[in-house]
Every structure is written in C-alpha cells, then in structure tokens.
C-alpha cells in the first residue's frame, strides 16, 4: 500500500504536543504501550509524520527504528496527512462481487488521485479498505463518519457534491 513519507511540512501546535505527552503518560511503563500511543497520536494529528514519531520514540525511550517499523506495518497508521473528507471504499469480498471495484476506479478518475492520496487542495483523500463489516449493504463506502450503502456509480456525483466537490 502506498505509504510514503510526506513532503507537506509539519504544522503541529503546542496544544497538540501537550495532548500527545498526556496520552503517552497514560500508557508509558505498560507493556505493549507503543500501538495504543500511536493510535492516540494519530487521533491528535490525523497522521504520523516523522516529527511525531520522533517525539514518541524519545518519550517512550525506544529507538526511532522500532516506532517506524510498527507504523509502516499496520494499515491504520498513515504517514500522509488526511483530507478534510476521507473517502474509504470497501473492497472486501461482498462489496467486490457487487461492483465496488468500479466505484473505486470511478472515484480515482473523478478526483484525479490514487489509493492513499489526497487531492492537492487537501479536501479529499481516497483509500481502499478491506471490509467495514456492513456486507449486507454492499457495495459500501464511507466519507468521514457517513456510510453509503447499496451504491451505484451514477450516485457518486450527487454524493460528492454534498461535500462541495466540483465547486
């Protein structure tokens, strides 16, 4: 999966850093702390750039390499910033046999981006995901917390317009 280091400069704030350190204090000392800390950090920053990983490594007193190897192993962790609206198309089996592959292709074409990328204006990010467990509604996509089920390709324009696409 495309998970390359971003070229967008890091814009973390003091408040975010304080929040991160607070989260680290909760887990520090526990065995297996790294993954929950990374999950908290991603909630705070939206992604895990080099700067955030470095802070975590220093605070947990582990090497940067240990942090980076875990970040790049799990699909949930992103080295790329999130968009304002994050579109996630399910390519799980039930959705795939009902044509979610076509929906994903169409979105790539419409937005002009590939899997795991963000539009240049930072508005939309597109990801393929593996099963959100809503197989009864296949094919499914989510945009932030909104779930769209029983999708067809011709509904996409209408749905994207709700999020200000094409304006």
């Amino acid at each position: 999966m495309a998970n390359t280091i971003t070229k967008i400069p890091f814009k973390g704030t003091k408040e975010q850093q304080e929040e991160l350190f607070k989260a680290i204090d909760v887990y520090a000392g526990q065995s297996g702390a790294l993954i929950p800390v990374l999950q908290e950090a991603q909630k705070i920053y939206g992604y895990l750039p080099y700067e955030v990983q470095k802070m975590i490594a220093e605070k947990l007193q582990i090497s940067m390499e240990k942090v980076y190897e875990v970040v790049t192993f799990y699909a949930q962790f992103s080295l790329q910033p999130l968009g304002e609206y994050n579109i996630s198309v399910c390519l799980g089996t039930a959705c795939y046999v009902k044509g979610s592959g076509n929906i994903f292709d169409k979105l790539q074409e419409k937005l002009g981006i590939k899997n795991g990328e963000c539009t240049p204006d930072g508005k939309f990010r597109l990801d393929a995901c593996r099963c959100v467990g809503a197989c009864g509604l296949a094919p499914v996509m989510t945009i932030n917390d909104d779930v769209y089920g029983r999708l067809t390709v011709d509904q996409l324009d209408g749905i994207l317009a709700k999020y200000g696409f094409g304006k």
């Binding site: 999966m1 065995s31 297996g32 702390a33 790294l34 993954i35 929950p36 990374l38 999950q39 190897e69 875990v70 192993f73 799990y74 699909a75 949930q76 962790f77 390519l91 799980g92 089996t93 039930a94 795939y96 046999v97 009902k98 995901c129 593996r130 099963c131 959100v132 467990g133 809503a134 197989c135 009864g136 296949a138």
Partner: protein, 503 residues
C-alpha cells in the same frame, strides 16, 4: 417484507429466513439491550460462571467442553476442550486468556454482531476459560474498524467489574479474573494467533514459529489460550445446558451451530445461524431466498482469502469442517459470499491473491514472494497473455507455498486459486485458449459490439466515448473500432436500446 413477499400475518420466527435457523450464539443479539448487564443476567447471564465457580472443578469444566465437541470457530476447527487441556497443566506464575476479535476476513461480520449485541456472553466465556486453565487475566483483541463493538464491550467490562463479576474473588470463590481491550491497527495477519500475541505486545504483528505452542509459551512468554469470539460465545450455554445438549446438534465431528455472514449476490443478506450439517442449498435457496434478478447461481465462497469456491454441483454437501475441507473450501470464520454468472472465477482468484499479497507480513519467503509470483501469473492470464503451462506453474507454486509457509495465512493463501482451478477449469481455459472472459469481467478480454439491428443511430454512444472509437452517422448503424476502444463501458451504459453488448 422479505424478498417483496408480504409476511404481515406470519411470526418473524416462521418466515423462511428464520425458520431453518437455530440461534445459540446469536440468541440475545437484537433481543436484549447490550449495554444493560441486568438484561443479560435476566437471560441466565453469568449463571454458567456461577455454576462453574461454585460447583465444578477446572477439570470438570474442561471435560464438559471437550465432551460437547465444540471446535474453534475462528476457522481452523481445533477442538476447544483439547486446547484448554493443553494449557491447564502448565505451571506458571501468570497465564492468559486471549479472545481473538480481529475479524479481518473480508465479508465476515459475525464477531462484530456478537460483540455489539451480546458482549457479556464473550466476557463470561473468557472468565470460564480462565478458571479452567488457571489464568487470571484476559485480553480481547478487537479490530479498530469496529468502534461500536469496542464501546459496548468496554461498557460491559466496566459493569461486570462493578458487580463483582470480574475482578477479585468472584462469587466469593477465591477466583480472580480481569480483562482489557486491545485495539488492532489494521493488519489481517494479526488474526493468526501468534501474530496477534506479538501485536498485543506492541510490535509488528508477525507470526512466530511453533513449537513452542501458545499453550506453553504465548503472550509475553506465558502459557496462553486463545479462542475467537464465537467460540467463547458458545461456552456459557454448553455449561448451562450440558455437553449432551450441544453434542446432539450437528454432524458426527462438527457439533453445535455455526454463524455465517451471508452476502454477495443473494436476496436476503445478513447473519444466519444454522446447525452444522445444513446444506448450502438450504442456506442459499430457503434462508437466503435465492439469487436476485433471475440470475444463475455460480459459486459460494467460504473461508475468505483462506477458503475456496463451492460450485453448484456440491450444493447438497452437508456443511461441516471436514466436508468443506474435502471439497477444497474451508469453514473459515463464517463469511459466505454468493456469486452468480456475472462473476468471473479467475478474477475472484486474482482478487483474493491480491489481498494476500497486500497482507502478507513479509517474514517468510514462500508467502512473501510466492504469492506475488502467483498473482503475476493470474494478471497475465486475465490480460489475455496466458499459456496452458501457467496452470501447472500455478499449481506447483501453490503446493510449495502451502507446504513451506510459516503461518496459516501463507499455508492457506493458495486455496482460492486451487479451488477455482479445480472447480472452474474451463473458465481458466477460456481465458487462456479462447482469450475470452465468459462472465464479461476481465476488461482486456472484452469486446464491445453494437448490434446493427437494434441500433437506432441516435449517436449517444459516440458522444459518450472518451476514446473517439465509435463512428457512424444518423441513419446508419454505428460501430466500434476495437483498436481504439479502451473498454471503459461508457457506451454500454449510455445506450437506451440495449444495442451494445459485451462479448
């Protein structure tokens, strides 16, 4: 309304969807408020834990679970009682119970529903297991993609703790047991038991070689018993109703019920719980209501990326662990995806292999490199460049990967390819020899053709074509230049007269 038929005067349990089902695991789902421990207790909740702690020895518990014939519902089907009996005698200062709720198999959502609808039955099952094997601490490893399940399970744990059903000296018996939730981070391989334990330890979720088995050396190097959500959800009922009751259901070697997540090209989708030994035909035709839009059933896929495709000829085989393995599929965790004539089996094999290539952790070579080589061959076949020798090469690689991979992911990854080659060989041959995709899925093998009889020369298709491949003028039927055509399907979607067909 189910399948557009009016069931106004029929009790829900008598509708075709529910009639053939038997709900043991799902008995409380949708019935009780999952956030209320009182409602669970009112449905005999925690009575089994009370019985175990006050009237049974750990050996009695293991004997009861063994006698019931319960086998692991996560896919492998290892006898649960035997798993517990391997861990129980190991002496150690700390032992663990781990619940695998990392339901990564695409198309499966049984565990999510149990955790969302009846979280206490999982907690109770884990506590009973803890007592049987001598563990005082449990972990539930849940996918982060299931936020509601996590929330409800946390509420359930907190309430059980408040009431003294988790914690120190439960029921005044001197038995201590408590548990924590750990969130997965989106790696399919973490559903494998040793990889899951490595992930709980905060590392890359890579599997570990066995032996030593988790029963001897598992989580943090301590003896550990791991079962999945559905397995734990059966335990309390087995203790309460007895091993004989459970063993009376199912087939000779597969007892009890199994929950399947029915999805794909089927009228009624959803969770169905059926006694083991029910046939696929019963599930698809009666419970599922058949295939929509008058299409023909082609195959049912079970076991996700580890499983296989069951063709129409095998629809009357009673479903149990051993029968499914014998016909080249697998019980798996319970995803059951129905496919019709519009699904290409070579494409499906490619889809699953693409999944395994993405999700292979990369630790061992047969899985990391072997699955990628297999995927390349399938891509070659679907692109129209296949040769007959590719089939042999696929089978050879498959056997090698199965025999030499470190964990279950690699050992089963070739199954979707092997089962489709076995059951749908003619479809592979059509791709390779005739350079055709009979289901009309593989784009490179498709040709869009305009039927001059049906064409009204309206010109809509010409305007829709992004490649300028369509020519014609008013009054003369239009035609597509196959050299220029990019097979996007825009013309096909635009034509109002059904004059354009895929060949």
């Amino acid at each position: 309304m189910i399948d557009n038929q009016d069931f106004n005067n029929v009790a829900l349990k008598d509708t075709p969807f529910y009639k053939a089902q038997e709900r043991v695991v799902l008995r409380n789902c949708g019935v009780i408020d999952p956030e209320s421990i009182e409602e669970y207790i009112a449905m005999d909740g925690y009575a089994a834990l009370g019985k175990v702690l006050t009237q049974m020895t750990p050996d009695d518990v293991i004997k009861c679970v063994s006698d019931s014939g319960l086998r692991g519902r996560g896919g492998g089907g290892f006898p649960t009682g035997r798993k517990w009996s391997l861990c129980a005698p190991v002496q150690a200062p700390q032992k663990y119970v781990v619940c695998n709720a990392d339901e990564g198999d695409p198309g499966a959502f049984m565990d999510r529903s149990v955790l969302e609808g009846d979280p206490h039955c999982v907690i109770e099952g884990m506590a009973i297991c803890g007592y049987a094997i001598g563990a005082t601490k449990g972990f539930v490893y849940v996918r982060a993609e299931y936020p509601i399940a996590v929330k409800r399970l946390q509420i359930a744990i907190d309430k059980a703790r408040e009431m003294g059903l988790l914690g120190k000296n439960i029921f005044g018996s001197g038995f201590d047991f408590d548990m924590e939730i750990r969130l997965g981070a989106g790696a399919f391989v973490c559903g494998e038991e040793t990889a899951l334990m490595t992930s709980i330890e905060g590392k890359r979720g890579e599997p570990r070689p066995r032996p030593p088995y988790p029963a001897i050396k598992g989580l943090y190097g301590c003896p550990t018993t791991e079962n999945n959500v559905e397995t734990f959800a059966n335990v309390a009922q087995i203790i309460l109703r007895g091993a004989e009751w459970f063993a009376s259901k199912g087939t000779e070697k597969s007892k009890g019920t199994k929950v399947f997540a029915l999805g794909g090209k089927i009228k009624n989708t959803g969770l169905v719980e059926i006694p083991m030994g029910t046939t696929l035909r019963e599930i698809i035709e009666n419970i599922g209501g058949g295939i929509p839009n008058g299409k023909k059933f082609k195959a049912a896929q079970t076991g996700g990326p580890s499983g296989g495709c069951i063709p129409a000829e095998k629809m009357d085989v009673p479903i149990d662990y051993d029968n499914l393995t014998a016909i080249g599929a697998m019980m798996g965790s319970g995803g059951l995806i129905v496919m019709d004539e519009d699904n290409c089996m070579v494409d499906i094999a490619k889809f699953f292999l693409g999944f395994t290539v993405d999700e292979s952790c990369g630790k061992c070579t047969p899985c990391r490199v072997g699955t990628r080589r297999m995927l390349e061959i399938l891509e070659k076949i679907t692109a129209g460049n296949g040769e007959m020798s590719d089939l042999e090469e696929l089978e050879k690689l498959a056997e090698y990967i199965k025999a030499n991979s470190l964990c279950g992911l690699g050992q089963t990854a070739p199954n979707p390819v092997l089962s489709t080659i076995k059951n749908f060989r003619e479809e592979y041959i059509a791709h390779i020899v005739d350079k055709k995709c009979p289901a009309g899925v593989c784009k490179n093998l498709l040709r869009y053709v305009i039927d001059p009889e049906k064409c009204k020369s309206c010109g809509m298709c010409k305007r829709a074509c992004p490649a300028d491949a369509i020519s014609g003028e008013r009054g003369v039927p239009y035609s597509i230049d196959p050299e220029k055509c990019v097979k996007c399907g825009a013309c096909y979607a635009t034509c109002k007269f059904g004059a354009i067909s895929k060949q």
